[in-house]
Structures are given as structure tokens and as C-alpha cells.
Amino acid sequence: MDKQNVAINHSILASILRVIKHSHCSAHQFYWGLALRTVERGFETLPFVICFYWLTTELKDTTSVPEGNPPGDSFFTLLFLLLAIFIGQLFFAYKGQKQSFMGSYRIMASYRERIIARIRCLPLAQLYQYRAGHLSDILIDDIKKIESIFTHIAADLFAAAMLPLMLFSGLLWFDWQLALSLVAGLPLALWTLNSARNYFVHIGQRKQEKFSDTAGMLVEFVSGIKTLRLFNRADVWLCKLKQRFDEIKDLSLGVEIWGAGPVVAYRFILESGLIILLLLCAVRLDSADANITWLLFFLLAHKLLGPLLEMAEYITVLRLAAQSEARVQNLFSGTLLTEPEQGISPENFDVHFDNVCFSYDSKPALLNMSFTASQNSVTAIVGPSGSGKSTLMNLLARFYDPQSGAIYLGGHDLRAVGTEHLYENVSMVFQQVQLYDSTIMQNVKIGKVEAADEEVINACKAANCHDFIVALPQGYQTQVGEAGMRLSGGERQRLSIARALLKDAPVLLLDEATASVDCDSQYELQRALSKLVENRTVIMIAHRLSTVRHASQILVLDKGELVQQGTHPDLLSQKGLYSQLWLSQRSKLVQ
């Protein structure tokens, strides 16, 4: 029985063990709690053993029952024994609960800590890729479910499984045939439960997918409601949403059928063991007399079957939690960026791409990219949408590592330089590098943590954001991010320019699109940018070719390949993509 159980709960058990393994902490206390809880359940059966003992002695001398006896010594022994058992049970219940709760909190605290440490090491691109909500769903809802296994279910379930096992072994000793007949339904019951598992998991996943899909749609609906109303299309979206809700209802009922149906069948089959017990008794009675030990079976039948019946409900909950664990496990299984033991602080800031290739999944995004940007020069990257401009920048910012080839900073491979030293020397003004939940002051200061407030203010003045900041209700102390003020795109970008100014790193990665959006005073902004690029190695994505006429070199990208390279006049004189782009940007005027 035990063996089969283990096989059936394989994935659940594997999940539990994986959590313990990842937590890197001793599960002793937890196991100790399980043992104590089992002893508690053992104590629970003792009154029944006593009862049976009383019964046998009572029936042996049934002929000589003295009438109207006052309670004798044996009665007080009984009272004393029962009291001792109750106190023992209470003691083990208390100890067991305490140890199992504390032990599981210890495991979970450690497990959670490992996860937040893991998140810290995820490649940035992966962090950006996770939908904001998706990752927090995993880290909040899924972990909550896992925690509930440890705190509320595991100990109950374990003790519930051990009790029948103990009773069963005892009963086997009394009468193995009757003992077996009582649990005769178990194999079939477990088989039923198990064979429905795949359907349950399958439909459960489908519901989960529909759920997160609908969640995405809801967020989209809420954020786009203004647009929808302006075009009077809110009704269409409502219809779509309502249809999803209908589908969720059908899937939910499916989940319930595949979840509860087998449990109902399991319970029915298992309880049928009682029928088999009665039938076996009947068969035996055909040829022989009844035996008093049979009474023991009737007394304990429900004690033995009860916990087994309860287990089925736990198993459904556990399976859901195991699915949650699997999602968390994905976080542990992805690859991390390799970090050197000791990073290298580069002495010069030439940037060099050597045969770099990169593809998303299997879609190539950069092919054999090779170029050098020497220190304190301005390199502009131009090309149509999807030509690989952002990928190039993301690789340089080490949001990913290239799949082949290498990127060098001051002659050292970025992987050897290490994230720490890379980010020490590189500033980014990107769309993705946004603000975090804190005050404006803190957000700019993060560029240089030790900076004085005046320095921050000066940087903000230079980046032309001082004026809008002081106009905010709490000035520099205004909270930004999700919880706080909503800043416009342009305001955010000017803040990140201020941050870069303050940080004063020798290498600057710049996305021009970001810097030109909503340029309420583009004039000032451009001056800030001009200041920012002075005496730095600048790599910049350009959308308007006119803004990079004076770049030291321009890289022209097309479909992930470097197709042209040179200065503006060089490239104009060549027949190629650059001159085409230049002409198309200019010719719009003379249509």
C-alpha cells in the first residue's frame, strides 16, 4: 500500500522534496513535527484498544456478571489510563503542531530567501520579459500555495496516512484475511484517483492559461478604456471579455468534475471495503462460528478508513500546489549570466564587437556583428525597425550574453569584466531603464549614491527637469513609480538623463527616440545631451539621421547585419541603405 502511494504521489512528493532541497536548510524540525503528529494519532487509537480489551474480558465471563457492583479498582485504573492517554495526546498534538509549523516556516523562510536571491541574479532581459504581473503572481500566489502545503497540509496528511498504516499492521496480526478485505478497495480506489490525474492536470492548466490570458485582456481593457470609448468600441471589448468569462466557467466546471469526480469514486470504492468485510464474515459464518476479534474490526473500521477518505481531498489541493511549485521551479532552472569571481575594471573604454551573433528563441536578431567604437567617440546606429538596433544595445548593456562571439570593453570580454564593473562604467538612457518606487531625489541619486542634494539638483537643472520637479506637490520628495505621481514619458527620460549626468560614467548608451519624445523644450534637452556626450564613449540609436550627421561613425544595420559603416559624408557618397534612408527622410517635404 505504502509503495503504491509513493508512486502515485510522485510529483507531489518530488515537489515537497525539491522545496526542501532548494531551501538549503535543515528540515529536521519539520520531520520531527511529522513524527510527533503521528504519535498523536497513535494515542488517538489507544482508547479503542482499551475498549476492545474491556470487551474481551467482559465477554469471557459473561456468565458471572455481578449485579449492581459499585465501581471497583479496575474502573479507576481505566479512568486513570484514559486521562493519561488524553494528556499524552494533547502533549503530542501541541508539540507536533509547534514543531511542524515552526519547521515548515523555517523551510519556507529559507526557500523564499533563495528565490529573492535568485531573482537578483536573473538576466535583466528575462526580468523585463516577464510580464510585470506574471512574475509577482508566481512569487506571491504560487508561493503562498506552497507554503500552505508545508504549514497546513503536510503534517495532517502524513499523520492521516500513518494512522491507517499502524492500524492495518495491527489488524493483520489479528486476522489477516479480514484486514485485507477491509482495504480491498484501496488499490482500485487509488487507481481511479491516479488515472484521472492527467485529465485533471490538463484541464487545470487550460483553466490557468485562460485565466492569465483573460487577466492580460482585462488589464488591456482597463488601460485602453479611454481609446475604446473614444472610438465607441467598449462594447466590442466587453463582448470579448464576457465570452472569456463564459469559457472560464465551463473550464472551471470541468476542473471540478475531474477534480471532485475521481475523489467521489475513490471514496465510494474505498468505503466498499466495509461491504467486502461483511461478505467475508458471511462466507465464514457458513462454515464456522463468529469470532470476538471481528468486533475489533467493526470498532476500528471507520478509524482506519476515515483518514484514507480524508486523504483524497488533500491530494487535490496538493496537486494544485505541486503545479505551483513547478512554476516556481522554472525560475531555478533558467540559465543565469556567468559572473566572474573577481571582475576586471577596464582601463580604457574602447568598445569592440567581435563576430557577435544573437537570436531570440530561434529567430536570429544579430549576425556576425563586428565593429570597434574607440574611446570618447560617438557611434550612431541606424536602420529600419527590426534591424537589430535594440538587440545590439541590449547585448552591450548585458541584458543578455551573445550566443557566439564576444563583446569587449577596454579589451576585456564583458563576461570577464562582470556586471558590477560594467555598470560602474556604463550609463544608459533607454526606454526600459525606468524609475523605481521612491522619491524623485532618490531616483536621480541612485546614479551616484553618495551625491549631495545640491549635486542632484544641479544635474536636474542641466537635464532640464528642475522646473517640472519643483512644480510637483512635494518637489524633489515626490514619490514616483506605481504608487506615486505619474510622470509623462518625456519627464521620465529627462530624469534618466539627469541620472546619467550625475553618474558621470565613461560609456553612455543612448536611445535617441527616448530622448526626443515629448520634447516640451527640446532645445534645452539637446543642450543637456550635448553636455552629456562630451568626453565619453557614446553608442546611440538614432531615428532621425540629421541628429547624427556629426557622429564619429555611423553603423547601418539591416536585418541583423552590419551593411554599411562610416561617417555621414562617406555614407552619403555611397549608394546604399543609408543614402536611401536619408533621401526618404528628406523627400517627404517635396511630395
Binding site: P47, R120, A215, W237, K242, I446, V517
Partner: protein, 598 residues
């Protein structure tokens, strides 16, 4: 006070069940019958014990008969519970469905200011998770809690039928358990609140940790961030450990007492039997039945714990239910050409500085005219756009289309008259074509092409790998701000309305593209009345009227040449603009000056 808010939530839950109460009632009825059926196996065991102890004439036949009774009872019980659960689940999921549908319908009509004060993630959580939690209450708890209360009642009556003294012994632990819970667990409500607060604090810390990770990592502050998070984790487990230590003694006593009937039944039973008041089989029966009788009550107490969370979720839904969903469906007759007129329009945002406030704003947009609204940020330009789109309603004065107030129009009709494109572009997940067709599902290929051409998005779309069918998704094409704006402008043009308001809709386009757009839109849509809200002056030389706005009011109205001579703001704008145009990365500000002057 708490009971009052809880009361409200219960009322809300009751309201939600309105259409499905009959199903739930039947489910409860079946549960009651099933609970009685659950007694039969015990009765069978009782009879079996009888048969063994009293050795009837044909014990084997008796056992065969009993096994048949048992089979019938099990089948009946299983069947009844299955139907009861099916009904309660059907009812529950129908209730969830109705609730969700109602919620999104309300959301669709939520005032924008209301929406802006809420996070879309929270609303999503409410519509999905908070509603989902209700399922457990309706589908499981109605049946289980009812069975847990009704079951012991049936058992108790049966026990009294066997012997009243033994029945009392079986019940005696109940008041003890209740006393324990009253004594040890009177603070559970408070402790639960403490736990929820700690848990909510941890959750928001986690969300913040994840969201901030990229930024703090780039600025090498992740070590500090990690330490803070670790501290919060420790705080949480500190609270949890403290609460656990407090609750475990009471809880273990409570749960032990609920299962402790046997400790009373057994001694009393032996004594009663010794004095021949009861038979052995009666004692045994009471032990079998009575020892586990009160355990279902654990379910009731678990339910009482869970219900708090469900009720909190329901409270979060309340404001959504309160949103009004009235909508006008009237249709008024309009004859082209349409003149739009702001008449002494005023509006101010609550609790805010004067930013965006407008007062006594007057402007006439002649049919087919090209109008430009210029001014510094905070002048109230975007307020004008939002008022035109009906997203805000004027506090004073009116906005009229051919002498009909805009407020008298239904959303449906307004959207056929005025289209608006704003700076913040919202594109839905789907293909580019689907996004364009949002404006008009029945637009022909030709119309789409024309709109795309005017919006200067022709080459952009043809350069994408799948052209019009390219998917705009989170993981899909990475369109720049300017590219997204061009799609949005094309969408607004496609709506085919006589009036088009562009609120900084081309702010991310470079000056050349912007100028080309102005030219093309005039050639391709000559009859359209256009209100262009902008802070830049490129390509507006040919505008029919240019309005200079500041501090919520018009400061000057005129044509390009007039304003260039008389308006200092306008003059400075042009001057700076030409410098911006000549700017390029890598040249110093000094060089730039020479370049412009020379």
C-alpha cells in the same frame, strides 16, 4: 464597526446569489438527506455487532442482508452528495460569471479620473481573484458547513435514541471545546488581522522588489535592495512565528477536545454496562459514532477563518458596483458641414494646482478648417482635447456642434463626429490591421491605405516582416514611440469623422515627417476640420488659425505671418526651433550656435 462592514459584505454576497438560490436550496436539501444516509453504515455495523454477540439462527444470512443494506446506503449517499455538489458548483460558477460580467460592464463606464486613481493590476485582481474566492464559499462551504452542522445533529438524535446518558457523555466535550475556544481564541480576529497585515506588507514588498530589480541592478544597488527584502521577509516570519506560538496551545486543546468524546463515553459505558443499564453493543455503537461526531465542526471553524478573506475581497468590489452605467442612446440629426464651438467653456481638476485648468475659453472651428492650438505645458491644451472627446465634461459654458451641446450626444454618435488621437498611444494586442480597424471595422482596403499614407506610416508598415498583419504584442515588434503614434494617427483618420483632434499626437515624429503629415492630411482629407494641439510650430504656416494659449485662456489668435510679427512667444518658438533642427549629437553647443547663425 467591523461587524457592520461584515454585515454589508454578507448582504452583498446574498445579493449576488439572487438568481441561483433555488439550486443552492436543493443542494442543501439533498445534503440533509445524504447526512441521514451516512448513518446507515453505522447502523449496519451496530446490527453486525448484534449478530455476533447474540448469534441469531442464521447469522450468515443476516450478514448477507446487512451488506446489501450497506451497499444501498453507500450508493445513495454518494449519489446524493454528488448531485448536491454538482448543483452548488453550477450555482457558484454561474454566480461568478454574472458577477464578472456585471463588474466589467460597470468598469466600461467608470469615469476616467476614477480609473486613473486605481491600478489596472488591482482591478484585474478584483475581477478575477476576489470573485473566484466566492466560489469556495458557495460551492463548498454551503454544502460542507451545512453537512458539518447537520451531521452531528443527526448523530446526536440517534445517540439519544440509543441511550440518553451515553449521548450526553458524547456531547459533553462540545461545551468544553467551545469554552476553550472562547478562552484561548478570543483574540483570533485581531491575530488574523495582524497576520493579513503582515502578509499584505510582504506581498507589496515583493511586488516592489521585482519591479525595482532592473533599475537597482543597473545602478548596483541590488545588494541593498536584497538586504531590505530579506529584512522584510524576516519581519514577516517574525510575526508569523509569534502568532503561531500564541495560537497553537488553544488550537491543539480545541481540536483534541473535539475528538475526546471517547474518554467520557468509555468509562460511563463500562459503568452503565456493569450495572446492566445498557448492553455491550449499545456502548460500542456510541463509541463508534460518538468518538468522531464533533470533528466536522473543525470544518466550521476553518470556514470562519477563510470567510474573512472572501469578505475583504467583496469589499474591494463594492466601489466597482457603485459606478453608474447609464448611457444615452439618442440619435440627433446632423447636417454637414459641422461647425464646432467652445462657448465660455470652463473646467478645473479637483485637488490640483492650476495646471490644466481652463476658464471662459472661446473658440470657433469652421468646417474644413485647419486649426492649431499652441502654448506652454500646463496651459490647458490637453483639457480642451479631453473635453472634445467627452472624456471630461465642462463645468461651465458649453461645447457645441452646430448648436447642439456635445453633452447631449450619446457616446456612439459622438464617436462618429469627433475622432481624437493623443500623445499616449494605446495599441491593443493584435495585428496592425486590427488596431487600425478598431476605428471602423468595415473600413475598405482603400480607406485604410489612404489613412496610412496620410499618417506617414506607409513605408513603416511595408518594412515590417508581415506588413499589415504584423502582430503588436509584448513580445512582438518593438515599435518606437514615433512609429506607434503614426499608427494611432492613421487609426483616428480612418474613423472618418468630420472633426479630428490631434493632441500632441505627432510629438514623437521628427519635424520632416510631421510637416509631410500636415501636407498629406490636407490633400487627402480636404473636408476634415482639424484641431491640432502642439507645442511645436513646424509646418503650421498654412494653418487657417493659430491659437496661442496660456493659463487656461486664449492669448492670441491669428495666422502665421501675423503672429510672427506681433507675438513674442510665437517668435521665440520659431527661433529655438531652427536651432533644434540643426542640432546633431557630437557637436558642441558653441559649434551649434555658429552653425545656426552662419
Amino acid at each position: 464597526m467591523e461587524s457592520k462592514t461584515n454585515n454589508k459584505s454578507w448582504k452583498m454576497l446574498w445579493r449576488l446569489t439572487s438568481e441561483h438560490r433555488f439550486k443552492i436550496f436543493i443542494a442543501l436539501l439533498l445534503t440533509a438527506v445524504a447526512a441521514i444516509c451516512e448513518m446507515i453504515p453505522y447502523w449496519v455495523i451496530f446490527q453486525a455487532i448484534n449478530a455476533i454477540l447474540q448469534s441469531p439462527i442464521d447469522p450468515a444470512a443476516r450478514f448477507y442482508e446487512l451488506s446489501i443494506w450497506l451497499a444501498i446506503a453507500l450508493l445513495l449517499k454518494t449519489g446524493l452528495y454528488a448531485v448536491a455538489y454538482a448543483l452548488s458548483h453550477k450555482a457558484a460558477y454561474s454566480i461568478l460569471l454574472d458577477t464578472r460580467k456585471t463588474l466589467v460592464t460597470h468598469l466600461a463606464w467608470a469615469p476616467l479620473s476614477w480609473l486613473q486613481s486605481r491600478h489596472s493590476g488591482q482591478l484585474k485582481q478584483s475581477v478575477l481573484q476576489d470573485v473566484e474566492n466566492v466560489e469556495n464559499v458557495i460551492a463548498h462551504h454551503t454544502v460542507e458547513v451545512f453537512a458539518a452542522l447537520f451531521g452531528p445533529l443527526v448523530v446526536t438524535s440517534y445517540l439519544f435514541w440509543i441511550d440518553w446518558r451515553l449521548a450526553l457523555a458524547a456531547l459533553i466535550t462540545a461545551p468544553l471545546a467551545i469554552m476553550t475556544s472562547a478562552l484561548f481564541m478570543r483574540n483570533t480576529g485581531q491575530q488574523y488581522d495582524q497576520f493579513s497585515a503582515a502578509s499584505a506588507a510582504l506581498e507589496s514588498a515583493m511586488v516592489e522588489y521585482i519591479r525595482n530589480m532592473p533599475v537597482v541592478k543597473i545602478f548596483r544597488q541590488d545588494a541593498t535592495n536584497f538586504q531590505t527584502m530579506r529584512q522584510r521577509l524576516e519581519d514577516y516570519y517574525g510575526v508569523v512565528r509569534e502568532l503561531t506560538t500564541k495560537t497553537i496551545p488553544g488550537w491543539s486543546l480545541f481540536s483534541s477536545l473535539l475528538a475526546a468524546s471517547v474518554f467520557f463515553i468509555l468509562p460511563l459505558g463500562t459503568w452503565l454496562h456493569a450495572n446492566s443499564y445498557v448492553s455491550i453493543q449499545q456502548v460500542l455503537m456510541v463509541i463508534v459514532l460518538g468518538s468522531g461526531m464533533l470533528k466536522p465542526l473543525l470544518k466550521v471553524s476553518r470556514f470562519l477563518m477563510e470567510i474573512n478573506e472572501v469578505m475583504a475581497g467583496l469589499r474591494r468590489l463594492e466601489p466597482v458596483f457603485k459606478i453608474e452605467t447609464q448611457q444615452k442612446t439618442n440619435k440627433l440629426n446632423f447636417k454637414n458641414p459641422i461647425k464646432m464651438e467652445f462657448d465660455n467653456t470652463g473646467f478645473s481638476y479637483p485637488n490640483q494646482t492650476n495646471n490644466g485648468t481652463i476658464k471662459n475659453f472661446n473658440l470657433i472651428l469652421k468646417p474644413g478648417s485647419f486649426n492649431v492650438l499652441l502654448g506652454p505645458s500646463g496651459a490647458g491644451k490637453s483639457t480642451i482635447a479631453q473635453l472634445s472627446g467627452g472624456l471630461l465634461e465642462p463645468e461651465s459654458g458649453t461645447i457645441r456642434l452646430n448648436n447642439v451641446s456635445l453633452q447631449a450626444l450619446s457616446q456612439q454618435q459622438r464617436s462618429t463626429l469627433i475622432a481624437i488621437a493623443t500623445q499616449e498611444v494605446f495599441l491593443f494586442q493584435g495585428s496592425i490591421k486590427e488596431n487600425l480597424r478598431l476605428a471602423r471595422p468595415d473600413a475598405t482596403e482603400q480607406e485604410i491605405k489612404r489613412a496610412v499614407k496620410a499618417a506617414q506610416a506607409e513605408t513603416l508598415i511595408s518594412s515590417l516582416s508581415n506588413g499589415y498583419d504584423t502582430l503588436i504584442t509584448e513580445q512582438g515588434v518593438n515599435l518606437s514611440g514615433g512609429e506607434r503614434q503614426r499608427i494611432a494617427i492613421a487609426r483616428a483618420l480612418l474613423a472618418n469623422t468630420p472633426i479630428l483632434v490631434l493632441d500632441e499626437a505627432s510629438a514623437a515624429l521628427d519635424s520632416i515627417t510631421q510637416q509631410a503629415f500636415y501636407q498629406d492630411v490636407k490633400t487627402l482629407y480636404p473636408d476634415k476640420t482639424i484641431l491640432m494641439i502642439t507645442h511645436r510650430a513646424y509646418g503650421i504656416e498654412s494653418a487657417d488659425q493659430i491659437v496661442i494659449m496660456d493659463k487656461g485662456n486664449t492669448k492670441d489668435i491669428g495666422k502665421h505671418s501675423e503672429l510672427l510679427t506681433r507675438n513674442s512667444f510665437y517668435k521665440r518658438l520659431w527661433q529655438q526651433q531652427s536651432e533644434c533642427e540643426s542640432w546633431s549629437i557630437g557637436i558642441s553647443n558653441l559649434q551649434l550656435k555658429e552653425l545656426v547663425d552662419g
